[in-house]
Symmetry: D2
């Protein structure tokens, strides 16, 4: 359960590493968007293992096949299904550790939930994010039509620059942070109560594996600040444009975009698969040790940036679509397009 | 839009400070729960202005009337509507500032969204949280039947103890933090992809006004840690019980509860209504100044604790209900209760 | 569960006859609609017992109080809660039959579901439709802004005119039919797969108590027709307008409006509360007899017309709102309204 | 939009005839169900063109590939994606008529909605039902575990037996009816207000192309009956079993199953693609004629039976899953399965 995201622009993902394929279906993409596999490829490359110098060495072709919803390079309004075949996966590699609960992984909680072992190849696999990235590429293509960009970058890795190399050397891994910025979104998108734009972004980002915290604007620092410092003054330029002199709010006020840059910071834990020996328990309930061999990322942020962008873009598109009926006048305008 | 929360246990809130009443409707509460107004009252008291020594001086009776869904003190399975009449509200007080965008408030983004001014009494008002607290009290009553508790406390106010008094003295306000702990939840509740338990908790908490950040377990600190420190080792006690030797994960692994205490920290910004003069713009687009008089909280955490609990409880109840069909065997067991 | 209807324009209803009040909350009504209690009253009158010459003699004031979402006679975009206090209800009247399963009623299936007796005053009560009518009045007000009307009338009662009088005389009741017509909706509203406009209308209407069948256009007669007769030819007037020479389709093709009048026929069963003695079982599992005294409608269609209209109007509004993001160009047009 | 069905057991379909593949994703299937491609194949065969003697001659292999959610023949709780590759499709055949609005088809309403032509191969194609059948086969496998069966048969074709042969001879087509029966469902499944079991079944069935009417139990005949005839008496057998002496209700009372057989009748229009010449309009707005050549079903019911079953099965599974939290005691029982 819980593999569908969104209200109007809805993304369903499917697939495990150990199965034949993974992918997504987008329901609610408007007709008339120019879309080609090339629009997806660039983002898929950024997520790929091996793309970053520090990434896992596993090779994945990640060639996306568009199965539906696009005709002659234009979206038709029908669901867009996209699929990536799994290649180069090595079930045996997982099987050897399949009966042992890896610390920091979902093996144990999965087992508690579903009553079966699904180690390494299940839905908690980082591989699932490929489907999100494909969906996010479509969302970003839509946003570009409105002059809206979503861009994330690695804002920190560990405490010091040399932490990462040190971790790689000793078979450990390190935590990291991503900063994500959304530019060009007009003021007025979001919702005031449960479905605040910030709340939906927080959910979207927390749904990515390894995320431990999200903060908007001044974030946790705001917990130590005074309003006289943290409040952003409004200023009018005399020509009808209202802006804020600072952006401590992070571009969202009361759950609704304020026209400023939206920015938020995301904390990723150190990826839990490490070569060092760890104390754990196996599926028979016996105490044991585990050392996880094979190809594993020593840090999450570099490959996660494009996943954060994908999730953020899906949220913004969905909120724009939901906002179209905010006012009687916007409904009238959009409805007037129907021919008769 | 966006005033309905949850999938099976669904809460709708309504009402503004300036209107006759506010309240909520809970759809999806099971039949057979003992419930009386007294179950609601205690939590309502904790949210009430005037309850905390630092809280706004506004008096609200906050007497909850249960309009439906309860018969002879037992829930019937029908929607539970609860209503609080607004008393002692002073529209004039808001009207005088109604045409000026208060810094740090949703006035401007609201205006951009809906094209109208709704200052001070709209859905962004802290008063809306009364409806959440009423719904949360029902959710907590359900959880108690399963031995699950949700408890939040103020973990910090500003940087130092005397920050608050200082702020009050100079008409400023101060940021704060809340720590929330969920105990007694079994392992296996949540979902592995979009609807991770952590993701839904993050959304729930970020939907509360003034929240700028949420972190689970080691949170942002994890971004600087190594897996060899951050991973929690599993250990078996020989009697069938598996636990973790530490709880850096915060009780959730891969979006699913691991049987440990769930804990998360919430950052609240300093409440933006302050008596000090601030630069801003009015609805006519003219630059102006504003000093917000009247009764306003100098800090959010003390009254927000019960709101955080309410939202967290609603999420946990909803996830337990959604988890009942995780396995064929649990479906069979529950379905076997039907008589013929 | 199941008391929330719609995707964007979402209606939650609550309340039982035996409780203090019933009502609804509309989430997703656009800001800027002129709305007053008077807009609701007219439809409430049409649903009222005693309004039709054949209706139950129970007196209900049905005065709707708007609790939220409207300021100075204009909707604000916030949830619109409306409430009707229950007056003149006589719990004792129901109590005497509360432990006996009335044939044709939901008493027994309710008991099987919730494990408790809720006879006569539960959610299955016809009284619940008052909340739907209030919500429907708002939906119809919105539709009027687009020149769309929804109008239902009684198309038949029993087999012959004198059936009704005869039934009243002998303490029996009679079945009936309602015809509902939607005019002024442009072509292009609906969806091609699961959420066909016809499918959502069918659900909406089947959710009304007593409905046993719904058919669109030629309906069941189409099951005996040939396509050469049933297909509607298209014709162009040369000035850009395309229409159908007949309307056997009932205004919907492939789940999407075709610009023609939408019409559907609804079958209501004879209301099951009758004074004649009936064989049944009580809550102790004993065979017994029941004769239902008191005020009960001998036919459903006259009072149900306004309920059918209400449900149909909610569906059409919801589908129009959902259709606003059908095409990139309509999204762009509506989004362009945001000021900056 | 509108390509996702269900609340807990959620089915997303995708794909067009003209594209590379079509399929579905099921989110919310419990872990622990034995499932193999063979479970799907039998139903796919029943839907296949060429299966019925009267069906279209188009050959489709309809070999379903399970892409995810099943490991070693057991469902894992993860989304189950299933795909069918399109073979033997002839885009040219459609292209020649692509610019002409076929009477009785969705071509025109599609064009009005999406602003583009998608004739013959779009989402309105009967081919889309292959994805529904695959999902329905999983739903029926689940129901079998509870002793519940869903079975539909052709109840009538036209007015007389020889109507069909006559239609085939003259290039016309004929309407038909399907009767669907659900057996073995306990009393108590469904919901009392909007999400009545009958309402959700009605929506599900009306979402199938060509359906013009649905009726439960005595259906439209009830509109001419008296309650003294239409009401079903309850009777107790003395051993704790309560049943109805007749089943005019069709197994659902007040939206909730009553333990009896659920049955409903479905009216299908004559399939609109006929070889006879018809008056219509093309995409340039010019009046023209069309005669639709090629392989087309002369009647819908024979191949539609399995589609009706599929949709009904999905509804029943979803309602059972949603009903698990109806009572505190069933929640407690199911939750007790979690180990610690």
């Amino acid at each position: 359960m819980g593999s569908i995201f969104g209200t109007i622009f809805r993304v369903t993902t499917f697939g495990e590493s150990h199965g034949p394929a993974l992918g997504c279906v987008i329901d609610g993409c408007p007709a008339g968007l120019v879309l080609s596999p090339g629009d997806i490829t660039a983002d898929m490359q950024r997520r790929r293992p091996g793309y970053s110098p520090h990434a896992s060495k596993r090779r994945e072709a990640d060639e996306v096949e568009i199965l539906s919803g696009v005709l002659d390079g234009i979206t038709t309004g029908a669901p867009i299904a996209m699929m990536v075949r799994n290649q180069d996966h090595n079930p045996a590699e997982y099987t050897e550790i399949a009966r042992t609960f890896r610390p920091g992984h979902a093996d144990y909680s999965y087992f508690a939930k579903y009553g079966l072992l699904d180690t390494g190849g299940g839905r908690a696999s980082g591989r699932e994010t490929a489907a999100r990235v494909a969906a996010g590429a479509v969302a970003k293509k839509i946003l570009r039509e409105f002059g809206i960009t979503v861009a994330a970058h690695v804002s920190s890795i560990g405490r010091r620059a040399e932490d990462l190399e040190d971790c790689i050397a000793c078979g450990d891994s390190i935590g990291s942070e991503v900063m994500c910025k959304i530019n060009g979104l007009k003021a007025g998108v979001g919702a005031p109560v449960f479905d605040k734009l910030s709340a939906d972004l927080a959910k979207a980002v927390h749904s990515i594996g390894g995320v431990k915290g999200v903060e908007f604007g001044t974030g946790f620092a705001a917990a130590t600040m005074r309003a006289s410092k943290n409040n952003d003054a409004f200023v009018a330029d005399g020509g009808g444009k209202i802006s804020k002199t600072t952006n401590n709010a992070g571009g969202i006020l009361g759950g609704i975009s304020d026209g400023d840059e939206i920015y938020f910071r995301v904390a990723f834990k150190p990826p839990p698969s490490i070569a060092m020996a760890q104390q754990t328990v196996n599926a028979d309930g016996k105490n044991t040790q585990i050392a996880i061999k094979g190809r594993h990322d020593p840090v999450l942020a570099p490959r996660a940036c494009v996943v954060v962008e994908a999730m953020a873009a899906c949220v913004v598109v969905d909120h724009i679509f939901r906002s179209l009926s905010d006012r009687m006048e916007s409904v009238k305008l959009a409805y007037s397009l129907y021919s008769q």
